[in-house]
Symmetry: C2
Subunit: 233 residues, 2 copies
DNA sequence: TAGATTGTTAATCGATTAACAATC
DNA sequence: TAGATTGTTAATCGATTAACAATC
């Protein structure tokens, strides 16, 4: 009996957040019919160390083979199991603006086990419109839909000032998880999982990083060799 | 002379990723005309410890006051400075689908120093259409635009299979930072900052968390008190 | 076989939390 | 004043990296 796997201990956050990246890469390898992949190859592709990759793998019900690495098919299987790609997770989207509709039609969601069963809006002008195979519903139907359709996840795609109210309605309807795309922090009971998408925060990270780099621009020429800049006066 | 601030040392990643949350909260306080905020109040709102908040503040050019906390206006100022909210960062969006258009019209961007100066698409049927004040441009104009308009950041809102090609074009055009909303890992020279939005990965985190909770559901009744469940047979 | 690669232990590194003197 | 709160140091915790025997 090995020490690893047995989805019993909760995965460390950093590990869980690397798994989707592994899964993306592994699916690409599968498409190209590659059979085996080594920790070195994964590490190089994703900018990690081989140690990190092997440590992460040790959380999965999987064993690698010396000289070959991990079997691509098996890896896709266990990562997909962990990330719910092989279980249907039913979700609703609140907000039928551009963002809400983009998510409703987002092909990647379907390929990873997420099924959008309804989309809602509070604006009477929008209610009744078609979004792919769905029809925009009024908020009054939210609670019933979540219950009858066994919805797990609510995706909030409304303006920040409406997000907390929508969140409260989702919680009241018995939702288990919320993806928040609004730019605000949500308060929910601790029985409900909330993950914030924080797209603006990602932009702010970039803004910080590029200003940092500009200000640390060495005074030597761009093409300076390490030796040259090390020896600069 | 205090040990903190002087934007010289690069901020630790976890600190930088909490700053946008602080800024959001502080702007809400400002709206409500609150003058001072304590580490305890921030910690409680955002689910952190007071130690973490004070450690984070020590990276900013700011001093708190005993018994009162931090001045809301000053805090908004220094967080905004750090996150580029008071500097104009010019960006282009590649992809005029629902997602690209949603971002182009995203009000929060403008309020945080980000200005979208152009939106591009490769589809002739879409080129020429209006997106708010912008007109969708063909990809052939990308390079010129990035140079002439001094664009810092490119936002990739195209399907996964096109993302690497778009990224290469942005890099060739001299972009400094990229926000990638496509579900794929990008390879760029290390002079360019890439941040991946990974919305699907956030859904997968939720899927993992809710399945974990379901399976760890205690056998006692939902409404069981801590004492009751601790004593359960 | 020789060499590459895994799985795992131990060492290092860094982030969070606790503690507390200083201070308003 | 007494009590609340900061800023900072030290302790703890956890994640990453290094190292290496096992193995194919």
């Amino acid at each position: 009996m090995s020490t690893n796997q047995q989805d019993n201990h909760r995965l460390p956050g950093p590990v869980l957040r690397r798994f989707p990246r592994y899964l993306t890469h592994v699916r690409e390898l599968k498409k190209v019919q590659q059979q085996w992949v080594s920790s070195r190859e994964i590490a190089e592709t994703l900018g990690l160390t081989t140690s990190t990759v092997r440590q992460d793998m040790s959380h999965l019900d999987l064993t690698g083979v010396s000289k070959r690495g991990y079997e691509v098919n098996r890896l896709e299987q266990v990562l997909g199991d962990t990330l719910g790609a092989h279980t249907e997770h039913r979700n609703v989207i609140i907000g039928a603006g551009l963002l809400g509709r983009a998510l409703a039609l987002h092909a990647d969601f379907g390929e990873h086990g997420f099924k959008t069963v309804a989309i809602f809006d509070s604006d009477p002008k929008v209610i009744g419109r078609k979004v792919g195979p769905l029809t925009v519903r009024p908020m009054t139907l939210l609670k019933r839909m979540v219950r009858d359709q066994k919805v797990d996840i609510g995706v909030i795609a409304v303006p920040a000032q409406a997000a907390q109210m929508v969140s409260d309605q989702l919680v009241a309807a018995g939702i288990r998880g919320i993806l928040n795309l609004a730019h605000t922090h949500l308060h929910v009971p601790k029985t409900v999982v909330v993950v914030e998408a924080r797209i603006l925060a990602r932009m702010q990270e970039i803004a910080y990083a590029i200003r940092k780099r500009r200000s640390q621009q060495p005074l030597t020429m761009p093409a300076a060799t390490p030796a040259a800049s090390a020896g600069a006066a």
